[in-house]
Amino acid sequence: MTAVAEPAPAPVITAPVPPAWSSGMDAVERAAIDASARGPVLFFLGNAVLWLLATTVLGLITSIQLHRPNFLADIPWLTYGRLWPAYTNVISYGWVSLSGMGVAIWLMARLCRVQIRFGGVLVAGAIFWQIGLTFGVVSILNGNSSGVEWLEIPATSAVLMLIGYALVGLWGLFFFGLRKQASAYISVWYLLGAFIWFPWVFAVSHLTKSLPQVHGVVQNLIAAWASQSFIAVWVTAVGLAAAYYLIPKVVNRPIYSYNLAAIGFWAFMLFAGVTGALRLSGGPVPAWLVTLSISANILVLVQVITVGVNLVATMHGQHHMVYHSPTIRFTFFGVVSFLVGNGLGLFASLRSFDAVVHFTQFQTAQLHVMLYAFFSMMMFGAIYYILPRLVGCEWLSSSMITLHFYGSAYGGGMMIAMLLFGGLASGLSLIDPHATFAQIIQIGAVYLPGRSIAWVIIGIGHLIFALHFALMLLRIGQPGGQPTLFAPIGEETHP
């Protein structure tokens, strides 16, 4: 296949032909790679699904606690102030990280055309990671948090998780070195960034936070840098790597412009890492830091626009695939959420807007657009694509996938909308000196029960997804070969 837009005039790295496309890889080779990836990737994804269920429970409880403060308040382990950091750690390091690593491993194997050897090392990485994370979450619930938002887990946990990640990350670099494809596809660039970035930020932030000479607001800056890096860099990189692979693959055409993708990647690399101080905007930190981060955040727009144009243009004329392919429906939802999330982030970073929403649930909404509406949907799409290739049968029921999509899309959308509107409403009254604090609480409270209802809807979707996933592990599905579609291609269910 030579359907490539144009041979690029060689920036730093160019793939003349995206390998996801024209790898010359035959079905036998693909099947061999998938077979080698089966054990480790299923281990990562299966555990990720368990963490997703834990996330759902914690998300629902913490949401209820905000409008019913007495809910579970007499059990020290379950008080809101301990449960909320447990929730953010479980969603970020449990579901998001493990599913991201599982998908990243599979993508690397496919894109580098390398069969996974010594998969036990990857499994060991996942075990180390989860022991560390479990210990960290138990410590938080037990009242042994470090007290630094985002870096709550104790040093022991951080070390265990770092060992786990190092095993995975080194494996990723190893794949890259062994690759049979001379040119690296854009997804591989993003994955390399993610593999290197995570241990770097994780190690530097946990180490420097614990140094005796680092105290006061510098600790907060480090934590802001680490949390922003996780969302803006790691999550973005892995999510986009999946998008750049899955969308061209399923709609069966190359990405619209390889140069655009490359420009976006370099803009992302340069600017995304410097946006961390946004979280302390207006706070007791040097003003230049915040200005720097706002400028960087505006420049990240270069990447966001290129990604948006590129992926939407790749889909051009193929939008009907959203009605057929589960992978595309979830993935395209993720791409749109990525654009929305970055748009919101851009708005919220401007000083005048930040003054209104800085301390409100608007921030939580932004977090969930990136973690849930963008990344999690991308991972769902990837799992719907990858799993049949690993277990050898297709998903049992397209209705179950539809229900899962409705749960996640409508539930997730509703949760985010409640947080956005609630945050905006309470932010607008916070800056009104005539509004008393009691009024602010009441205005914000209007939206809180809606968020809990949204969590129930999400939970139903997740339960169906987890059940479907378990059925796949038991090889209960439709015979392999033909992907499970919502509707056969050619039969337009929607105009």
Binding site: V12, G81, V214, H215, G282, V285, A355, F437
Partner: protein, 228 residues
């Protein structure tokens, strides 16, 4: 293949830049901040801030119960909100206010009011003319508020921290720090609700929070408008 090295080099360079800008330079710039000394005729007459080690126990409770997830401890200037008008402080807080704190609870969400100056007698979270404004937020008020927030602030959305208290049989005289409870909250006769050590430490810590001391680098609202 040979182009992979520049790719990895660029990735690492961009991380180094990010770390340098947001971790190393800030530590260099404000990591070494010292307290402000005011000297008069060669004698130091005033130092701020000073480290208050007696409050570490209360800080630990604040930390382990996760108070920071709903309460910030940073006052912003008037361009960034109405913190000063709300009575949360007399000036914005700056980096020097936090130099002895590890960690400092700057916070990122205000589901509850800011507590940067919660121990200041001037701190308030109600309109000045609100008839329900507590006469004084003293230790007894804070303990009662921790035990049953809505008993003192009807609209409060704060969870109760009853597990920081215990019910005890009164032997002889009632304890001095027993909560003065009424109605459904009151324990059966012969019993009393007393704060555990954690609750007392937390209340004392809250009462110690005061970042209104004048600093050279920040203009105080009070100094700007002396007529008030």
């Amino acid at each position: 293949m040979n182009r992979s090295l520049p790719l990895i080099a660029w990735i690492i360079a961009s991380f180094a830049l990010s770390t340098y800008a947001l971790v190393i330079i800030p530590q260099h710039q404000i990591g070494g901040l010292q307290p402000q000394f005011v000297e008069e005729e060669g004698k130091v007459i005033d130092i701020y801030p000073i480290q208050n080690l007696a409050m570490e126990k209360g800080r630990a409770v604040y930390k382990s119960e996760g108070c920071v997830y709903c309460h910030s401890q940073q006052v912003r200037d008037p361009q960034n909100g109405t913190d000063l008008e709300r009575g949360w402080g007399e000036r914005r807080t700056v980096a020097r206010d936090y130099i002895f704190e590890q960690p400092s609870f700057l916070g990122s969400t205000r589901l509850g009011p800011d507590l940067a100056n919660a121990g200041s007698p001037k701190w308030r979270n109600e309109d000045l003319d609100d008839p329900r404004k507590p006469v004084k937020r003293d230790r007894a008020w804070h303990l009662l508020h921790l035990y049953h927030p809505t008993a003192v602030i009807t609209e409060s959305n704060m969870p109760p921290y009853r597990y920081l208290f215990e019910k005890r049989k009164i032997s002889g005289q009632q304890s001095a720090d027993a909560l003065n409870l009424s109605g459904a909250d009151a324990p059966e006769p012969g019993y009393e609700i007393v704060p555990k050590a954690e609750a007392k430490a937390l209340a004392d810590y809250l009462l110690s929070l005061n970042r209104s001391h004048p600093l050279n680098e920040v203009k105080s609202a009070a100094a700007e408008a002396p007529k008030k």
